[in-house]
Amino acid sequence: MPRLTATKRHAMRFRLNGHPVEGHAEPRMQLADFLRHELGATGTHVGCEHGICGACTVSVDGMLTRACLTLAVQVDGCDVRTVEGLAPEPGRLSVLQAAFRRHHGLQCGFCTPGILMSLDRYLQTNPNPTENQIRELLSGHLCRCTGYTPIIRAALEAAAVLASPTQQEDHVHV
């Protein structure tokens, strides 16, 4: 039974967007801070630090996860996915990201990484969502710029694009 002492920094390893990463964390370090400060993966944003705003939402072993409500030491050995892993290659957006751009689904962009992660995960398991389902999913996020309407349009369009057969094999992420 491992006991990690409070004042020491402990070696941590997990997979980030498919690649093995390692760093050091005190037990109290949030996953969000580990991603940003230890690994330099600053795509994940930190807003409220108590699970309300949703900006820090990532995926851990396929589960949507608030990175501020998760300790770095809890994800040792896990498969972590963040917004940096969405684009299929540099210079090319995922279907969902492209839909956000077309529909102005972001303005300041602070909430966007979390919302993209939620929608990416949700559309993988719910390929034909209703507008109400998207709205309910978005209740786990706060956006103060857009009023949500363009985000909902982008999500529904991305779902429609992904449902068309020609698009599917091309994209790892939605």
């Binding site: 006991r3 409070a6 005190e26 589960m63 998760t70 939620s118 786990g140």
Partner: protein, 274 residues
């Protein structure tokens, strides 16, 4: 904010977790999904010296049916219970209330037992467990103890759990033929309820359980009242609840919600009764 310093223990068996709890007592806290406790740690409202992570104990991640009860282990995430094939048939009230418990993004990690352990007065899972005469299965290195949910929660985020105990499971009795209804009012779907009402219509009469108003979920049992007799009963119940003003709503508004949605859920539960 960031949490204060603590040691972190990743328990691999229940005995390991219980041994640390026995040794550390009130200095230790159990963390499961962390969706309530991590917020408390970040705000330093909780400052344990040791955090015991129980999510890698496979035995706790179980949903079992035993002697007419559904037993939900301490490692069962809310999303897992919500996706359980038998939920609507066995525990209709929980099936109605779980989609209101947090958001998709927190149900994926938060546990049913963790919500009960946290005992927020607005939370849906303690409300359901109390409304359904559920039990809390406490475990320590010394003993096992079953506590009725209504006795387990003593007030706002306070319970009868001893320092060396942890919740091993909660269990809900399965009852056929009852009608159930659940509604809540919150600023955002998934936020803590300003007022949540659960109604159970059985052959004996009706039960109304209310969260978000007093410092813990409160229930009342009545015979099959109707018309002005029901209005009077609801009015008396709403008046007796120790409602408080806060940033989200006044006590008066909360009492009014008890009268209005309390009546709605009772009528709906009756319609669903076999």
């Amino acid at each position: 904010m960031k949490p204060a310093l603590f040691d972190y223990v990743r328990a691999e068996t229940l005995d390991e977790a219980l041994a640390v709890l026995a040794a550390e007592g009130s200095d230790a806290r159990v963390i499961a999904g962390g969706q309530s406790l991590m917020a408390m740690l970040n705000m330093r409202l909780a400052r344990p010296k040791v955090l015991i992570d129980i999510m890698r104990i496979d035995d706790l991640d179980r949903i079992d049916e035993e002697r007419g009860r559904i037993v939900v282990g301490a490692g069962v995430r809310q999303a897992k219970l919500l996706a359980w094939d038998n939920l609507a048939a066995k525990l209709p009230l929980v099936a109605l209330a779980l989609p209101w418990t947090g958001h998709e993004q927190t149900r994926s990690r938060g546990t049913v037992c963790g919500s009960v352990a946290h005992a927020d007065p607005s939370a849906e899972m303690p409300l359901c467990l109390i409304a359904l005469d559920g039990q809390v299965h406490l475990r320590s290195a010394r003993r096992r103890r079953l506590v009725a949910a209504a006795e387990y929660v003593t007030g706002m985020m306070s319970t009868t759990r001893q320092d060396d105990e942890m919740i091993e499971a909660v269990s809900f009795p399965v009852r056929d033929g009852n009608g159930y209804s659940f509604r809540e009012v919150a600023r955002r779907h998934g936020d803590f309820a300003i007022t949540a009402c659960a109604a159970i219509a059985s052959a004996d009469g009706i039960r109304l359980a209310v969260a978000g108003v007093a410092d813990k979920p409160e229930t009342r049992d009545w015979p099959d009242l109707a018309g002005s007799a029901l209005d009077d009963a609801l009015n008396a119940f709403a008046y007796e609840l120790d409602a408080r003003d806060d940033i989200h709503a006044t006590a008066r508004y909360r009492r009014d919600l008890v009268r209005q949605i309390g009546r709605d859920v009772i009528m709906e539960a009756r319609r669903c009764r076999a």
